[in-house]
């Protein structure tokens, strides 16, 4: 059990590190970069997403919106 937690922690650390390591190239993005990033993002969502989704429905959408009100547009 302890070993499993250790392996899981290492995996998460590696995944997050690789995300940060690849933050810089966004400024000089290659064609197709979004596809690479979003497949990693899909994995991150799947691992952390449910923990973030503490509320449900409209309440959660509002929480995301208020956090992201200065964010990008949808298109």
């Amino acid at each position: 059990m302890l070993m499993r937690k250790f392996v899981l922690s290492l995996f998460l650390l590696a995944l997050v590190s690789s995300s940060f390591a690849q933050e810089a190239p966004i400024r000089t993005a290659r064609r197709g970069d979004a596809a690479g990033y979003t497949s990693r993002d899909a994995t991150v969502l799947s691992m952390f997403g449910w923990g973030v989704a503490l509320a449900a429905g409209i309440a959660l959408l509002c929480a995301l919106l208020v956090e992201d009100k200065t964010g990008s547009t949808s298109h």
């Binding site: 499993r4 392996v7 899981l8 995996f11 997050v16 995300s19 933050e23 966004i26 993005a29 290659r30 064609r31 197709g32 970069d33 979004a34 596809a35 690479g36 990033y37 979003t38 497949s39 990693r40 993002d41 899909a42 994995t43 991150v44 969502l45 799947s46 691992m47 952390f48 997403g49 449910w50 973030v52 989704a53 449900a56 429905g57 409209i58 959660l60 959408l61 509002c62 995301l64 919106l65 208020v66 956090e67 992201d68 009100k69 990008s72 949808s74 298109h75």
Partner: protein
């Protein structure tokens, strides 16, 4: 009449809104560690701690879908432990896109991702769904339906099928930002979107709330 003609170019330049329907009951989620390409993500409870997810991303491009897919292939195949396959065309409401499959590993087992890609007006639109491979069969139908739901609309209200509801929403949105009780309007907006938006999906609701929020709190939330 002159004022209408003056506004005409604005309507011509307004970019269409890209929208999709996540599977019903999936909850929105947006961890801060996601890349700037991701517009929104949705998750649902899985058989393990690894939840099925879907996210919408966009990227400015200067190439065709064929050239974009070629670049995507190179990127995925350069990552060790990742397998990539082109599954062919996918019919989306917005037009014909390309469906690809990415397989990778995780502590919970093999992860299977489906990525639907559409290139339109110098923008690549990507819907990426991830599940554990062992959960895929039970999720396949709702994921493929969601991937195919990607579409463009000039305004959010035209997607509301009931004409009276459409008019009610349009009229309510016109009134936003004019009163002196923004918090009351914000609550009314949430109730209205919750009442009429469930059939249009979580992303439509998010965009409808966002548009209203900006109008209500145009001078910033106190």
């Amino acid at each position: 009449m002159k004022s209408i003609l003056f506004l005409f170019p604005l309507f011509c330049w307004a970019a269409p809104i890209c929208i999709f329907q996540p599977p019903p009951e999936w909850q929105p989620s947006q961890p801060k560690t996601l890349s700037e390409y991701v517009q929104i993500g949705f998750v649902t409870k899985g058989s393990t701690d690894f939840c099925p997810s879907i996210n919408l991303a966009t990227e400015a491009v200067d190439c065709s879908l064929k050239e974009y897919i070629k670049a995507v292939k190179e990127i995925h195949l350069s990552q060790s432990g990742t397998r990539w396959r082109d599954l062919g065309s996918i019919e989306m409401k917005a037009g014909q896109g390309r469906l690809t499959e990415i397989t990778t590993t995780s502590p919970w087992g093999e992860v299977l991702m489906l990525q639907a890609i559409l290139v339109k007006d110098k923008t690549a639109y990507l819907l990426t769904a991830a599940t554990l491979k062992k959960d895929f069969v039970s999720r396949q139908k709702e994921i493929l339906t969601s991937l195919g739901s990607l579409q463009f609309t000039d305004d959010l209200w035209s997607m509301v099928s009931d004409a009276s509801v459409r008019m009610e929403l349009a009229s309510f949105y016109q009134s936003l930002g004019t009163g002196d009780q923004p918090d009351t309007q914000w609550k009314e907006l949430q109730a209205l979107v919750s009442k009429h938006g469930s059939a249009l999906g979580g992303y439509w609701q998010f965009l409808a709330l966002k548009e209203g929020y900006v109008k209500i709190y145009k001078n910033g939330k106190p």
